[in-house]
Amino acid sequence: MDIDFYWSTFLELLTGVPLMAQLVSLSLAVGFVLAVFVALIRLSRWRLASGIAYGYVYVFRGTPLLVQMFLIYYGLGQFEWIRESFLWVFLRQPYWCAILAFTLNTGAYGSEIIRGGLQSVPWGQIEAARAAGMSGWLLFRRITMPIGIRQALPAYGNEMILMVKATSLASIITMLEITGIAQRLISQSYRAVEILVVAGVIYLMINFMLTRLVKWLEHWLSPHLRDAPVVATPAAALAH
């Protein structure tokens, strides 16, 4: 066991964490908005839009993420008009291509999770809100959305972990995040197994922290499921 080598590899690989965190947080943030939007369209009465949203989800869930990333990064350059448009400033950079691919991918998976969450909101709650005079946006903002999102949170936590794991694919289109740096180190030292194990440990640590965070968020969002806090009452104080 060469502890020094493990430690220096660990420190070296940690320098890839900020880029990974950027890729994850940006795609998750935009992807979440997209997911809510797509879920709402799919639940709407507008048949055509709902069909298009279904098509989007179907295609992105039915193909590997790697294909989606290659289509965006290598594929789009095939078209003259894209290379001449202002979009090319972004689309020729692997960073934005990776983010676009991750966002579209998590948007598709996330929309199914959120749709499930929204559909699980008890009908009685919506009826009660209607009876209290809420409708449309107010009803959505106050009742459907908060309850639906809370229902969807455990499944969405899984999706977040899948996203962290998915960022390793960005190394294939030359991004130097954790896996990318690991590959560079392997080509320098040829000690592949040790380096990959250290990289695996880093991913496990990140995912462990993420799971804790989601658990905490779930706890925070479900006060109604917790025991009532023990409050010191005068009566209790007197009993002593």
Binding site: V59, P64, L66, F70, Y74, G77, Q78, L169, Q183, L196
Partner: protein, 234 residues
């Protein structure tokens, strides 16, 4: 469109055989993953704490580490291990490689085995306790109980979950292209490189994957319907 035609001029036949390769790797990996999954589920349901701990470690690691990392580990580590063993005991010298198919199928089998473990464990737990007690009461041996009561019912409960595991395995095979195995992804990259039409070929790859996943959804639905034919419906 001529690019995708059959024969020497187009890449249609190459893509077709690449699709068969994808199916072959995915099937091998899925079936081997079922073996790992059954062992994992048995370990998780075992009375021995150390077996449960090993199985928990296995599923936690495999679900927390990127698939690509596991594939690299098998790619680099597998060859290193085989070279070491061959040089030490088989009297060879120098580098010994394993073929990309074996590495890819093994890596994906280990990954999908972790998912299968959870699916099979859940399925076994879904079997009503009374049925197992009843089987014991009529004097079935452990093996007979497994064959007649446990396995057929667990398979029925596990089928929807295993359908998901299969879809995952199918999509994960795209990552094996990094080891050089000529499956859909690798073949598309080769074609894209030599024709300078990357969009066309990656779009073709996407369509091929969509066809495979759609057909699988249909097949698993059929299997599910068939497995439920004896069940009472609400």
């Amino acid at each position: 469109m001529e690019l995708l035609s059959w024969g020497d001029k187009g890449w249609g036949d190459e893509l077709f055989f690449a699709t068969l390769m994808t199916l072959a790797v995915a099937t091998a990996a899925f079936l081997l993953g079922l073996v790992f999954g059954s062992l994992g589920a048995a370990a998780k349901l075992s009375r021995h704490g150390w077996l449960r701990a090993i199985a928990d470690g296995y599923t936690t690691i495999m679900r927390g580490v990127p698939d690509l990392l596991v594939i690299y580990l098998f790619y680099f580590g597998g060859s290193a291990l085989v070279t070491y063993v061959a040089n030490k005991w088989l009297g060879t010298s120098g580098f010994v490689g394993i073929n990309a198919f074996t590495i890819g199928a093994l890596a994906i089998a280990i990954l999908s085995g972790a998912y299968s473990t959870e699916v099979i464990r859940g399925a076994v737990l879904a079997i009503p306790k009374g049925e197992i007690e009843a089987a014991r009461a009529v004097g079935m041996s452990r093996l007979l109980l497994f064959r007649r009561i446990l396995a057929p019912q667990a398979l029925r409960y596990a089928l929807p979950g295993l359908g998901n595991v299969w879809q995952l395995a199918l999509k994960e095979t795209a990552l094996i292209s990094v080891t050089g195995l000529v499956e859909i992804m690798r073949q598309s990259t080769i074609a894209a490189g030599s024709t300078k039409k990357p969009f066309t070929f990656y779009a073709a790859a996407a369509v091929l994957y969509l066809v495979l996943t759609t057909l699988s959804t249909y097949a698993f639905q059929r299997a599910e319907d068939r497995s439920m034919r004896g069940m009472r419906r609400a």
